[in-house]
Symmetry: C2
Subunit: 157 residues, 2 copies
């Protein structure tokens, strides 16, 4: 697919950069919960069952990277606590999660069907994630795709 791959370095690969921020397992799972509407630390813990120190570190990293923002809230008689909400940059991670979900539903699904169904809120139709091209050809598979060095490609030493 990509000729002369080894003539170029992967040091500025966008896939690797994205994975540096969201590539940890608990991070992608907590993002899943954030897309389901979850905001509170203790709810994340209940849903994920991960250690509190791990969740705290992962949320902190997402806030630092600008994918989530921390907001304070206070319920009557309680101390101030933090909520975590997706920023626009975080919301745009959604296709990554949909792609993971669709592959899992297709290849590893339970016989009774998916645990979660995603639909278009406006019309109720099932969600789709479609690989296509700007000229309107779709759906495409990986076999239809050509990869080539872009303007940011860096020659290997």
């Amino acid at each position: 697919m990509l000729d002369e791959r080894l003539d170029y370095t992967a040091e500025n690969c966008s896939i690797a950069r994205t994975l540096e921020i969201v590539g940890e397992r608990w991070t992608l799972l907590l993002l899943r919960e954030a897309f389901y509407g979850m905001r509170r630390f203790d709810d994340f813990i209940r849903a994920l069952g991960c250690p509190r120190t791990v969740l705290s570190a992962r949320l902190g990293k997402l806030v630092e990277a600008g994918l989530m923002r921390r907001e304070e809230y206070r319920e009557p008689g309680m101390r101030t606590r933090s909520e975590y909400r997706l920023t626009r940059q975080g919301v745009e991670l959604f296709p990554i999660l949909v792609a993971l979900l669709q592959w899992g539903d297709h290849w590893m699904g339970d016989p009774q069907g998916p645990a979660v169904e995603l639909t278009h809120r406006g019309c109720g139709a099932p969600l789709t994630l479609t690989l296509g091209c700007e000229a309107g050809h779709a759906p495409l598979s990986a076999l239809d795709v050509q990869a080539r060095p872009g303007p940011g490609a860096r020659r290997a030493a």
Copy 2:
């Protein structure tokens, strides 16, 4: 987005299942190289710079899970070696990598542009990955999406 999230368990979540197979950083990066057309162990090592034992374990896991298959080849005067090729199940992981790439290009790109450009082999137009619905509404964002328990949803204890 998903009401009553905590009434259900995430134990059969398709995102988590997919991540169990491909969620490790080196796995996604070696899959990137496989999509670029790479097949040989020593080429993967050169491209990724990961420890040989790690690569060997990751490739073995992908073969065991049915995402890659191992084939033997032999060059004149050399011993038999193995090539690793994506199966159909592996090829269908492609949207995950495209989603990671597009987010990285958009939010973490270099000023000079992307390191790699993906185009439709048939017409040369840039590749797109579009969230839409089966009724034809597109593009959609996460904010347009409703998640609800599907037929495989399991009630929390």
